[in-house]
């Protein structure tokens, strides 16, 4: 008897209504579109996520590696009930956020990867993700964790998340925090922004192509300088880095 292994390995996704795209003005005055992407668009996102795996700063390396794996798993049908949203300015990829539906009532926030910084792009994208869980999927709560102190400030502190420390989050098994419907409603007026529908021209530009980030986070000049500096008070790390830049080593 032949067995179709792919049928066994591939999870069957539950129906999830689409996220309706929205747009907003960021601090620079530029219009940003947040929209859901299809599986077909994942490869064009992956190429912009990959370089961030080498950014040893603010946990970009950890987050980018995990996002890469999650997007790849989504593309290859190895993740149950996942969705991916992107933020774009003039087509340029500014952020990727993703999550999944655990069951009818509970959502699992996976990652928020901002590719342009200093404009609350990550925060706006996270808010859109929460909006998807609460308003579109109609869930009661979303389980959240943060890998970086920046994420902790943005999610745990700004949304005043509740502890769900008895639930291990899917990211590393660490204790979960939860955004409840009540907390989301409290944050709705201050943290959740954006307008619908997106003007046709803006949306068309976003769909036309996912363009590379113009100013993505970059690794420090010396990937190990941060680590060495912690244990080396003699100045060697700086001198070595300078020599390296001057081509002496």
């Amino acid at each position: 008897m032949s067995v179709d292994l792919e049928k066994i390995l591939r999870p069957v996704d539950n129906p999830m209504p689409p996220f309706p795209a929205k747009h907003m003005k960021v601090a620079s005055g530029e219009e940003m579109v947040i929209r859901q992407v299809t599986r077909d668009e994942i490869p064009s996102i992956l190429q912009h996520v990959a370089p961030l795996v080498w950014v040893e700063r603010d946990f970009y390396d950890v987050v980018a590696a995990r996002v890469y794996a999650e997007l790849l798993a989504y593309y290859a049908h190895r993740m149950q009930d996942e969705y991916v949203l992107v933020a774009q300015i003039d087509g340029e990829l500014c952020a990727v956020v993703n999550g999944r539906m655990v069951n009818e009532d509970v959502g699992m926030s996976l990652h928020t990867l901002a590719m342009r910084r200093g404009l609350r792009i990550g925060a706006h994208s996270f808010a859109a993700k929460m909006e998807y869980h609460m308003d579109i999927l109609g869930q009661k709560e979303v389980l959240v964790v943060a890998e970086s102190p920046i994420g902790f400030r943005r999610w745990m502190l700004e949304y005043n998340l509740e502890k769900r420390f008895d639930i291990a989050h899917e990211l590393g098994g660490v204790p979960s925090w939860a955004l409840t419907k009540e907390l989301f409603d409290k944050a709705r007026d201050t943290l959740v922004v954006g307008r619908r529908p997106v003007p046709d021209e803006l949306l068309a530009k976003a769909h036309e192509a996912i363009l590379p980030p113009s100013d993505p986070p970059r690794p420090p000049d010396d990937l190990l300088a941060a680590t060495r500096a912690k244990y080396d008070p003699t100045g060697t790390a700086l001198v070595l880095q300078r020599w390296k830049q001057e081509g002496k080593v």
Partner: protein, 393 residues
Amino acid sequence: MTMRDVYVIGIGITSFTRLEFPLSEIAAYPAMMAMKDAGTREIDHLYVANMGGGRVNHQTGLASAVVDTLSLTPAGAETIENGPASGGSAVKTGYMAVASGLHDVVMVTGAERMREVNNLDATDFVATLTHPIAEHIYGVTLPSLAAMFTRLYMEKYGVTERHLAMVAVKNQNAALLNEFAHLHQKISIEGILDSPEAMTNNPYVAEPLRFFDCCPVSDGGACVILASEEAAGKVGRPLVKLAGVGQATDTHAVHEREDPTDLLAVRRAAAMAFERAGLTPADVDVAELHDAFTILEIVESEECGFFPKGEGHLALERGETALGGKLPINVSGGLKGRGHPVGATGLAQVYEIVHQLRGEAGERQVKDARIGFTCNFGGFGNNVVCLAFTREN
């Protein structure tokens, strides 16, 4: 007593950002740049400006570490701590050393590594400069103190949130032209004030001050080398004279001032610097003011004598303080755009002015700048150092 003239013969600076190096290296790197700029390693004495090494970085005796890192031993070295005015104070001390004839060439370097701790801890660290019994124990932070000050100023002089946003946009966008600045992100009035999303993009930190009204928490270092006329004459760099220094203090607790909207220490320090330099505010071509919060640029521009009291925001409206205006202020980006590593800020201001007076500031060069001015604001206006500079040749 006759004092000697004092010149700036070398300058150096690091990027203002997050620097994952020991504090002593952050102080040493711009010092190496400054020695290269001046073409000398003959330093008689070293002053190191720093505010938080002991508390934030667990490093005390910073000057001893820096002088050794630079291989400048056995030159004398000491650390100078005067809150966010540490840099200005150190320059003033270096000036006294040269002017008095005690030394011929002194190095003044400043450094801070504030991003070793998170923003909450950094804010708390800076708050330790407030009055311990009258302010700090009640949870006062610099943003909250500045917010109360701003509210009062708005009510008295008609400054609005739009004026504050105009300073934020002017300075943060000026920083786009400064390769060493912390913030390289363009902002617009529409994005931070007028759009439906503006309140989320630019939320209140302490009303009426919003996120973009506050300077970032930065690491960084900057250095200047001061010399006597004789020593300066041996250096083939454009001669910039430190023509006047002024320092003044005010009550530690802000509420003890007769009118809290008057920054008397700024007024007095600026007047002193101008008098010693034989200059007037009208002579100044370019100024670097201490805009830790946007309101401070407006108020200091009045207290320094550049505009009448209560009219700084009107000059801002007329574009007089922008690059190309009558008196460009903070073309480096200021603390708002360049960043504010507290102990290094006063030196970064001097770096910018010398850079400008030498005519080497590239795209942000103020045309024909020959007289420059800095205001380094310590505490909440309780300890202020002002410096006046002139291009000599």
